[in-house]
């Protein structure tokens, strides 16, 4: 039954990649990549159970941490065009 869940997760990942390629704005793509990261966390945890080695859960935890930081960083970069100090939206347009 873990195989069924892993297969469904793989199908979902294919749909998410298609949605990331389709999405008209950059925010659609960021959302799709974030969901893809969540799905890869699920897939790594399921693979740990399929293989009988629960140490894969540590890798899944690291993936969850990296996914959160990366999405916040990309969103901030798109919004402010920089990753340093945060500026107001009005200031960001005339720099």
């Amino acid at each position: 039954m873990f195989e069924f869940a892993a297969a469904v997760t793989l199908i979902s990942m294919a749909i998410i990649i298609a949605a990331a390629l389709k999405g008209p704005t950059v925010y659609d793509r960021i959302l799709a990549v974030n969901t893809f990261g969540t799905l890869s966390v699920i897939l790594i945890a399921l693979y740990g159970f399929l293989d009988g080695r629960p140490e894969f859960l540590d890798i899944a935890m690291v993936y969850a941490l990296i996914n959160f930081i990366a999405t916040i960083a990309v969103t901030k970069y798109i919004k402010f065009s920089r990753l340093g100090r945060s500026v107001d939206v009005d200031e960001a347009e005339d720099i």
Binding site: M1, F2, F4, A5, V8, T9, I11, S12, I15, I16, A18, A19, K22, T25, V26, Y27, D28, I30, L31, A32, N34, T35, T38, L39, V41, I42, A45, L46, F49, P54, L57, D58, A60, M61, A64, L65, F68, T71, I72, T75, K76, I78, K79, V89
Partner: protein
């Protein structure tokens, strides 16, 4: 008694996989950025929590030692709690950025496309 626990964990896993697939289909089919976030929330909360609950119950069934099963279930609980708290944060930041730069959201009333100022 253990048969019922086994069946319950499989029901959790199958329901979680189904909700994950439903959320991804919604993210593919919905027309707008904000409605796509609404569809993606199904994957990130209900699908992840049900799948990890099923896996946590299944760890006590599969693994022979209770100590190891407790370790696995604790790790699963930590991942699920982390995803449960950080995914709404990410969605909030992304929705704010999309409202700032992505133009007006679709409401179903505007058909003329005269007020949409999309920068991207």
């Amino acid at each position: 008694m253990s048969v019922f626990i086994d069946i319950g964990s499989w029901v959790c896993i199958v329901l979680g996989a189904a909700f994950t697939l439903i959320g991804c289909i919604g993210l593919w089919r919905f027309p707008d950025v904000l409605s796509r976030m609404h569809a993606g929330g199904v994957t990130e909360t209900l699908g992840v929590l049900l799948l990890f609950l099923g896996m946590g119950i299944q760890a006590f069934v599969i693994l022979p030692e209770t100590k190891m099963a407790l370790l696995v279930a604790g790790k699963l609980l930590m991942i699920a709690l982390f995803l449960f708290y950080t995914n709404p944060t990410t969605t909030h930041a992304l929705a704010q950025a999309a409202l700032w730069g992505g133009g007006d959201p679709e409401t179903g009333e505007q058909k003329k496309d005269e007020g949409t100022s999309s920068k991207t």
